[in-house]
Symmetry: C2
């Protein structure tokens, strides 16, 4: 049997057992896992050090090494993450929209786990525990394929998870780890539709393109964030300044940070110099359209390509637009349909922006930085979907379930 088939088959078989577990059993396992991770801190750190050493030899960038690095504090925060998941309500088995039909049939939709989920991610080893724990609580089996730079750290974490499962009397196949950088196994896994129900790639453009092109299994992408703030001519400019600065500089390396600032032409001469200076004070490098440059000659000229860019850095493109229509058209064309905000005191324009901007999260008078499972009250998130199908925006436990129709009859037959 081909290796991907073995992995898929075991995962699906273990899933049928996992799907039957009640919440108390799942929580009790997660508590054990929390304790076992803390107990094995020194072993995890030892293995993480191996990855760091190899990373340094390979010449990984300081940013990448930092993402790879675990510390006692980071391991504590990983374990705390599990406690947070224990505290969340389990959506599995909840029934919504139970209706009595005219013929007396009682029909509703029950939340159920999705099944076996393949998660492909890059260097951060904490994803191994976070993603597994969220999927486990929502009753899903996971097949994890982490980045090769984190191989030793991930193996240590997986071994703690598997031991904890065994201690709890749960089939350890509910988590499977793909411990090779051989892409052909991943390629084959992406075609095991009979066993695997969903693929979630988390990482850069190259990884996501590879998965989308090669998977015959449904994919939910966690893709890039080219986010915008549009400052309308009816904006409260104090709010606009606060929101623009916060959206760009509070944490520039994440997907919900602003990459392009759109400014209405009627307030550009007044607002641009103020926001520009403040952004420069925060170390932001500015690019602009020709009209923006006519107001702030020190700006570099933005190229057509720049409007599509996710800088993930202290760089910002600025464009002056004629009106809200042009702002919305720009966002829908160049954006990545992630998080976009309008700053305005005009009611009609606020409602229009909400309706017409085709993004996962659309804001009025707030920073784009709030797009996050914890901030939105989901408790925790496995990522932020930039897809429209099934889940859009932050994905919490409920988004990791699907539903089935359940029907209670009394000998009903169709006429």
């Amino acid at each position: 049997m081909d290796k991907s088939t073995t992995i898929g088959k075991r995962s699906k078989e273990a899933w049928y057992e996992l799907a039957k577990l009640n919440t108390a059993a799942k929580d009790s396992f997660l508590e054990k896992l929390h304790d076992n991770i803390l107990k094995n801190t020194s072993d995890i750190l030892k293995n993480n050090e191996k990855d760091l050493e190899e990373g340094r030899k390979k010449g990984l960038s300081p940013a990448l090494l930092d993402r790879l690095k675990l510390t006692e504090e980071r391991i504590h925060s990983m374990a705390n993450g599990i406690n947070n998941i224990v505290a969340l309500p389990d959506p599995v088995g909840n029934i919504k929209e139970m209706k009595k039909l005219p013929n007396g049939l009682l029909v509703g939709k029950m939340h159920t786990p999705i099944g076996s989920i393949l998660i492909i991610y890059e260097s951060r080893p904490n994803v191994t525990v976070d993603a597994f724990a969220l999927c486990f609580k929502s009753g899903n089996a996971t097949i994890l394929k982490g980045g090769s730079e984190a191989l030793n750290s991930n193996k240590a974490l997986i071994s703690i998870i598997k031991d904890s499962l065994k201690e709890s009397g749960i089939n350890p196949d509910v988590v499977q780890f793909v411990d090779t950088s051989d892409r052909s196994i991943v390629n084959n896994l992406l075609k095991r539709n009979e066993y695997i129900d969903l693929v979630m790639p988390r990482g850069g453009e190259g990884l996501i393109d590879f998965v989308v092109k090669n998977s015959t299994i449904p994919v939910i992408k966690h893709y890039k964030g080219v986010c915008h703030v549009y400052v309308d001519d009816k904006a409260d400019l104090d709010d606009a300044l606060k929101i623009a600065i916060n959206s760009k500089v509070q944490r520039p390396g994440v997907c919900n940070a602003m990459e392009t600032l759109l400014v209405n032409k009627h307030i550009a001469a007044q607002f641009l110099p103020v926001v520009g200076k403040e952004l420069e004070n925060h170390g932001v490098k500015l690019l602009g359209c020709e009209n923006a440059i006519s107001i702030m000659p020190e700006l570099a000229l933005a190229t057509e390509d720049d409007w599509y860019k996710e800088y993930l850095d202290l760089i910002l493109s600025i464009r002056i637009v004629d009106d809200i229509k042009e702002a919305i058209a720009h966002i829908n064309k160049y954006g990545s349909h992630h998080s976009d905000a309008i700053v305005t005191e005009d009611y009609t324009k606020a409602m229009r922006f909400l309706k017409e901007v085709d993004s996962a999260a659309v804001y009025v008078n707030a920073s784009t930085r709030f797009t996050d499972g914890a901030e939105f009250g989901l408790g925790a998130e496995i990522g932020i979907s930039t897809d429209k199908i099934h889940a859009r925006g932050p994905m919490g436990l409920e988004e990791l379930t699907c539903s089935k129709w359940i029907i209670f009859g009394e000998g009903h037959i169709r006429k």
Copy 2:
């Protein structure tokens, strides 16, 4: 520009306009379309006759010719279908789960259209109107690729739709018709992720496999139904008889008809001869496992392959199982996760069956034939999804929408 790019681009551009239309404007167009279809009945019939003639020349089966055939009555029923859609509430713009967060942000999810939907289907020309009208009402643009046998009928219908759109001042590109049997265009369309948001194939296994293998766009499949009725040893056998007969013979050629009957061994000797005789009276050809044959020697032996089969005909496989556990395992292994029923008076077994059978619709004491958008109270359906992602089971207007997060702030920034 490659043809698929032109089609996709036009569709997405028209969609942005369509998504802004309010319900009254959409309904008023649909009423016009209803009238124009009735007015053009003779033209539709003339074009349909061309398809039938070519079909007869090509030697299409009587069943296929019947599916292809339009009559005055069928055109009336097509137009009535549009009226039903007008009567349904429009889900677009509805907001659910609006919450006030501790920081004062107001966060909710708004139903929005999905975007541009590519629908690939086979011979029945009424799908052209049904699918378009459902997508239109839910604010989605459609790219339709019908079966080549129905080309003339479909062209006539599309031309009526386009004329009605123009009369209503709506961009006629909200519907695009692929009027060629050239598979390379379809193959290219399946990769136009930048313009097309969803693909829905409706048809046989070959078509669906082709789409799943070649699409990089999310796919929701309307796949086959290998449906089961499990008669438990605690069943009311009068109900069991009624439900088994109805599930098999009321309309054997559809996806929610039963293909395999599972009978608990403790009641097999009593129940099998009764249900077997009644099925035979309805002209059903029976296959069985060895144990079933030991009770009814006239049964043909079912092979391993037969348990996977969707007969869509008056043929039924019968298997005797030891208990509910074996019944559930059989359904999850051989079934197509469509519609499955248990007949039992035992409360615990009923609840277990609901929980553990991994299907789109799971029944207690009712016929599998109820899996249908109209029966479930959705008003109308575009099909029955056998996928788990986004929509499972009958898909109505709401399942043709997705959601976006909307956030009302008052100058909120993230700390």
